[in-house]
């Protein structure tokens, strides 16, 4: 019987892309993954390992070639507000201000106007953007835009929050701030988060459990439980040791023709 604590469940997942020039490309083969309520799971791997494909399947944007993908025991039938995505390019609606960008999802859910504003202001406060609520989003910095995008996803009260390399476009300092913010938000909301990255540092800083994936592999490559207490110091020896462990896990299974740092 299904464990009621499991939010995301993938069983024997395959995804094969067929292209005219490259033929069959088996991106995912026999992926089994269970994510429990409140977990912060990081999917890590080099380009082409299928981590974004897996995230897109969980989000409902893509369908597996075979196998089962389910959210809270129900098979995923397409995108929806129960599995909210935070995109790398923020994907905010430029014709709306920050608050309206958060409200639009609630509007689609049929939440009444006054209630919408109240909920939007609450999540904007949670991501530290109360002051910027009425500003046009194109006037905000990259970090602030990504906060709006996180607020928009949180406002939906999703079963799982999916993040696809959300801080990839930020500079190192903004990224470090956003890492701390995300941990704070995760602890404040108890959200279940699946976070895709190719940065070892990001994985070890954020994750409770890091799932490693490598290209052309059957199944997942490995799993690392990060039990280091928070706040984690990225300059500490323990942190470095965990990064090394993760790096070795990824490189040990890497095919000869794949360069981990190609990206």
């Amino acid at each position: 019987m299904q464990n009621p604590d499991v939010i995301v469940s993938c069983e024997g997942l395959d995804r094969t892309f067929v292209t005219k020039d490259a033929g069959e490309n088996k991106v995912l083969q026999d992926i089994n993954l269970q994510i429990r309520k409140g977990e912060f799971v990081v999917l890590i791997g080099p380009s082409g390992c299928g981590k974004s494909t897996l995230l897109n399947i969980i989000a409902g944007f893509d369908q597996p070639t075979s196998g089962l993908a389910a959210i809270a025991g129900e098979q995923i039938e397409g995108p929806g507000p129960d599995k909210a995505m935070v995109f790398q390019d923020y994907a905010l609606l430029p014709w709306l201000n920050a608050r309206e960008n958060v409200e639009i999802g609630l509007r689609m859910k049929g939440v009444a106007s006054a209630e919408r504003t109240q909920q939007a202001m609450h999540v904007l406060g949670l991501v530290g953007l109360s002051e910027a609520a009425e500003r046009p989003v194109y006037r905000l910095s990259g970090g602030m835009q990504q906060r709006v995008s996180i607020a928009r996803a949180l406002a939906l009260k999703p079963k799982v929050l999916l993040m696809d390399e959300p801080f990839g476009a930020l500079d190192a300092f903004q990224r470090a701030i956003m890492h701390k913010e995300l941990v704070r938000i995760w602890r404040a909301t108890g959200a279940t988060i699946v976070f895709v990255t190719h940065s070892l540092e990001e994985a070890v800083f954020l994750g409770e459990r890091v799932v490693a994936m490598t290209p052309k592999a059957v199944g997942l490559t490995g799993e690392l439980i990060i039990d280091m207490p928070r706040p984690r110091d990225p300059l500490s020896p323990e942190f470095a040791a965990l990064k090394r462990k993760l790096y070795e896990m990824l490189t040990a299974h890497l095919p000869a023709d794949v360069d981990l740092f190609a990206d």
Binding site: A59, F61, G78, P79, G80, P81, K83, A84, M85, F87, D89, A91, L93, P94, W95, I104, G105, R107, M108, K109, P136, Y138, R139, R152, L156
Partner: protein, 297 residues
């Protein structure tokens, strides 16, 4: 000590007085700049009128065919403010503008509603695109003037026929630009709409339509330009009022001063309606202007 502090004060004071005129100048600068560009825009029309006047004065053209700018000005004044009791064209300008304007607004309005309502789903759906797109592009190359005989048969002489021609002509640029705008809309915004739970009409209305507005406005401006062309064609062929009718009527009486006055009126009407669309665009598409290459840093 006291000398030092006095000198310090003096320096501060000097800095302050130096700053004040700079601040005032920088506040006035945008106004001056826009005034300068506004004046620049009147330069070419003025030069054109001057050359026209000189050419007529030098006798290059017979005055019966090309009247001087002053004669045209006088005809325009009489057309606008003359006593209608005097007959001819006196005091009939407003009525002519009203008649033409009404037909343009009606025809253009129909084209705008149909163009966007057909264009958005046609651009969004592959199936509808395959069904509707080839038909639109087959009809589009037929000059609207070629529709005049059929228009006369179906709508007769008068208001309906003119509205039909204006609507048909401005429909094509609006619908084509709407379709292309939707097709060029940012894919991730549609992904976002689906993630937020929007489907069908709500996906079109809240996500795809706003994203396509920059392109739709291009179609709206082109369509408005064509409207003023076609209203004249319609009025010359099948209607007995309006600016186009006045123009053709004046030609048949050899009143070239009125012909040119009518041409200038048409130019001004087209210019004015374009400015109105631009003013609406400036408000609706503020987000687009401020993220485009013309944005002030």
């Amino acid at each position: 000590m006291s000398v030092d502090s006095a000198r310090g004060n003096h320096v501060v004071g000097q800095a302050a007085t130096r700053q004040t005129p700079t601040a005032a100048a920088s506040a006035a600068a945008p106004l001056l700049k826009s005034l300068k560009y506004g004046l620049l825009g009147t330069l070419m029309p003025l030069a054109f009128v001057a050359i026209w006047w000189a050419a007529v004065a030098a006798g290059f053209f017979p005055r019966s065919v090309l009247p001087s700018p002053f004669a045209v000005g006088a005809a325009m004044f009489d057309w606008a403010f003359g006593d209608p009791a005097r007959g001819g064209y006196s005091g009939t300008l407003l009525a002519a503008i009203g008649a033409s304007g009404q037909r343009v607004i009606m025809g253009y309005g129909i084209a705008m509603i149909l163009g966007v309502a057909i264009g958005v789903p046609t651009g969004a759906s592959k199936l509808l695109g395959a069904l509707v797109d080839p038909f639109i592009h087959l009809l589009r190359p037929i000059p609207v003037t070629a529709w005049v005989p059929l228009s006369l048969v179906f709508f007769g002489f008068g208001f309906k026929g003119a509205v039909f021609l204006v609507a048909l002509g401005s429909f094509f640029p609006i619908v084509v630009n709407t379709i292309e705008g939707v097709r060029g809309a940012n894919r991730s915004l549609i992904k976002v709409g689906r993630m937020l739970g929007a489907r069908g009409f709500r996906l079109l209305w809240f996500f795809i339509l706003p994203a396509s507005l920059p392109s739709i406005f291009v179609g709206l401006r082109l369509g408005m330009g064509i409207s003023w062309v076609l209203i004249i064609v319609a009025e010359m062929m099948s209607v007995k009022s309006g600016i186009g009718y006045t123009l053709l009527d004046a030609y048949s009486f050899g009143r070239f001063d009125v012909v040119i006055a009518a041409m200038i009126t048409l130019g001004l009407m087209g210019f004015l309606s374009d400015r109105i669309i631009l003013a609406i665009e400036a408000v609706v598409l503020r987000w687009h202007r401020e993220t485009s290459i013309h944005a002030e840093p």
